[in-house]
Each structure stands twice: as structure tokens, then as C-alpha cells.
Symmetry: C2
Subunit: 298 residues, 2 copies
Amino acid sequence: MVIECIPNVSEGRRPEVIAACAEAITSTPGVRLLDHSSDASHNRSVFTFAGDATGVERAVMALFERAVAAIDLRTHTGEHPRLGAVDVVPFVPIDGVTMAECVELAKKVGAAVAQRFAVPVYLYEEASTNPIRKNLEDIRRGEFEGLATKMATAGWAPDFGPSAPHPTAGASVIGARMALIAYNINLATDRLDVAKKIAAAIRHSSGGYRYVKAAGFTLTDRGIVQVSMNLTNYEKTPIFRVFETVKRECERYGVQILESEIVGLVPSAALNAAAEFYLQIAGFNPNQILENKLRTLG
Amino acid sequence: MVIECIPNVSEGRRPEVIAACAEAITSTPGVRLLDHSSDASHNRSVFTFAGDATGVERAVMALFERAVAAIDLRTHTGEHPRLGAVDVVPFVPIDGVTMAECVELAKKVGAAVAQRFAVPVYLYEEASTNPIRKNLEDIRRGEFEGLATKMATAGWAPDFGPSAPHPTAGASVIGARMALIAYNINLATDRLDVAKKIAAAIRHSSGGYRYVKAAGFTLTDRGIVQVSMNLTNYEKTPIFRVFETVKRECERYGVQILESEIVGLVPSAALNAAAEFYLQIAGFNPNQILENKLRTLG
């Protein structure tokens, strides 16, 4: 069983605090730290790790212990919006685990965090218990500074823990979601208007695919433009469908796709779905992939 | 490190011998039996297993022990050509291991088999030490019945072991090769001539791709035809290139691809290459696949 967890912590400047958070994860048996990055202007760090349910839960608890002790939101500044010391904790099903099990894990960890650290917890995305509290942006609106007022408003009692913010650690947002794929398509043109029009055509907010966020940019050093995307559910809005739609929209403007790029990690299932689509493979079973078969038997 | 090994044993009728061969593999630590099938008319069984170099070597030795004791080629009959009790043993690099390492393993196991069982061993494919003894079919020509004469001919001394056949177990062919992918493309037509012409266009023997074997068949029950293929080196002749060529040849005859199918197992790298091609992914690194990253760290 493999669950990915990507906690966002409100500290991107003090190396000793960042190291302590990383150490909370690396010292937990049964999990592997895959990546971490810190941004000083955001004053925020993102950790990516994976493991089974027990390991992931223990690592998150260890992370809260370090972060709550070291971070004081009353004096925290940074460009990125934030609500708490451990701001967001998503659980992502990767292999041998369902979304429902990740939702259960989010609830279990949420309850444990509230009890042990007296930090109020909101459940979000697939773990959300209320449609108006599904989106992270909606929960985080008002940030730490507006949290006491917001929590006193009808409908904003937290899912777990006290109904007022933790004095220094604010509140945390914990939930379950699909793996997110950062995917860019570079166009063989410098026409920014084309990239922007195509981004608008495919993104959910302006009428496109439900699980696509997109924007058009210029890559100044290369003299080309890019449609930059986040694919937030690769099962329901697969990469190949987005790619083919961008390709077709390009034709309409007389431009071509130069290349695409996957930024960071991608679940193998997302790539296999593309192979299956283009090769028109009928009756394909993931157990036919040698490595999967070996893992199943292992 | 994962090496696949697919020994072919000259016994497809006596269940107790087949079970003993399977048990030789399943009882070896560090390997997993992925598949096995027996054919009575061929009087032959094929076992597919995987593991690290040490495990795979031990399993092969255990298999020889059972097969050499139980099989007598002097009384063996069957449709499939064969030279020995354990007829062929290919080692296939899958993950974290090079072809060169599989060649070394073939030589090590070949020497050990010759010494312990007094069975002469020919090295084939990537492990071959002589161009005229690279192809399995060339080595096996004349079969067990012609083996004594063949072995006395110039150039046919074995790579390891005695220069005459083992009285009951004949000789064995051991080597290293790329993973083989059994791949079929079904056409939305009943025109067998089209399937045969396309098979001829893409297969190596009649001028097509180097690592493609192909034939055209009718699928009587479905009223369609099939281009049935073995892809013997998916790195040098990738699936997507074969698929696209078949698609283009179909156009020339006014027919369409209905679907394709992968029979049995496929290495994930072969599917990832297709995703990379069709999505035009630039600078892709297999370590970006979450499961690979986890395995690397594990």
C-alpha cells in the first residue's frame, strides 16, 4: 500500500526548523521522503513523502510536534496565504489503496492532531463534510489573521478540535485528493495570445475540462509560449485528452506543439492510460505490467 | 534488481514432473514464479519467474536437478523442436540490471550446469560467443536425435561441458535477451490478404523492422483479421513505431485498426515509451514516475 502525503508547513526561512520538519519524516519507519522544497519569500516549505497508512500517520504526527513547537503565526510573514503552522496535509492514493481509505486516514489523523495538539482541523477535498468547505482556497480565505472571526461564524466550526484558533499554530486543513500532475505544453510560436486562448479553452474555470487549471505564459529565454497546467484528477480528465485538445486548438491558430513536459512526479497509471489510448489496447489489465505483477506477488 | 527467466522444459504431459519443476522454482528464496503453462502436444512446459541474480541462478540449478533426473530425451516425443531436458534458459534484464550483467549470469549458470550435471551448454543470443550460434533455431536444428553428430562437427563444440550429449538430458541452450512482447493488432475487416500484406511489410524477414516477427491470421469467431507479432527488442523497435506503421499501411487498403492487445506481460518501460512519444514529452526521466522513485529509495 502506498499513500503519498504532501504537507505544507509555514516556515521557509529558518534552516534549523526546516531541517527538524524533514527529520520528523525521515526518522519515521515505513515512510520515504521523496522531495522537499522551501521558499523564503513564501516563507513556506513543501514536503513530499510516501508510505503505508500507519507510517504516514506517524510521520504527520511527528511533523506537527516539531512545527507547532517552532512556528508562531503571530509573527509569521510571507507571500503565500496560510492558516496554520502545518497549513495543509493532503493524502493521495497511489497504489493498493482507495480514495475512501485515504478519506478515513484524513479523518483519523485530523482527530488525533486536534486531540494531541489542540489545533482545530478542517477536512477538505474528498474528505470534506460540507460542500462550502471542499476547496482549500475557501477554507483559507481570511488567513490566520481572520481566523478567530471566521471560526465564530455559523458553519465554520472546525471538523475536529477547539472552536477557536490555536494561539500560535492557527488551524490545519487535512484531507484526501487525487494525485496532481504538473503538466506543460510548449508551443512552437512566440504568440502569447495563442497560449492564453488555449489555456482558457481547456481550463475548468472558463468552460473547459473539469480537472484542469491552466494559464498561458511566455518563456522569454526560449522565445516560445507555454500552456502551463495542473491536472487535478488524471483518471477523470486524462493527460492524453488534454494533449489532443490542445493539439486541435493549435491547428486552428496555425501553430504546432513543440513538446510537453511533466514537472516533478507522475503516477505510472497516468502514463499507462496514454499508452492504452494511443495504441488502442483492448482489455488491458495493469497486472500485465511486469513490475506490477512482481509487486502483487511480493 | 529484477531479472526475468523463462526456462522451457521438455515435459508437458506428466503432471508430477511438471509440478516438481514448478516446485523447484517456488521453493527458491528470492524468486517469484509469475506464470507457467504446459502443452501436451508439444510435450513442453514454459515457466516464467523473476528475482535477483543469486535467486535466479539457484532456481535454475534446482530446476535442472529435477528435470535432468526425470526426463529422458530418448523416449521423449512432441511437436516442438527440442535439444535437451531443460531445453532453453533465457535471462532477461527488467529493472536495475544491464544486459551485460545478464550475459555474465548466463555464462556463470552455463558453466555451473555443465559442471554439476555433465550437460553440454550452448550460449545464445546476447551471450553467444559465435555469430553462427546466436539464433536459437540454428543451435536447435537437428534436435536431440541429431545432436551427437552435430556436436562432432567443426564449430559445434559446446561453450561449456562435455563435447558429446548427455545420454538422457541432451544439451541446453542458455543465454540473455531482451524482454519479448507478444503484441497483436486486430483490423476492422475480414480481409486476410490485408493482414498478411501488413505482416509482411513490418516483419524483419521480409524487409520490415529488425525486431519484429509477424504473421496475418483470421479470427474466425469474430469475423476479423489479426496481425500477430512478437516484438523482440522494444527499445530498438518500439511498440508505437510498429503501431503507427500498421495504421499507415491500413489506410492504403482502406481499412482501420479496431484495437490492439498485449498478450501476457509487458515491461513498464515499453508502455512509458509510447506515452512519451505520443505526448511529445521532452526531457522525461523514469525517476519522475512515482513508483520508480519509491523503488529507487526503497
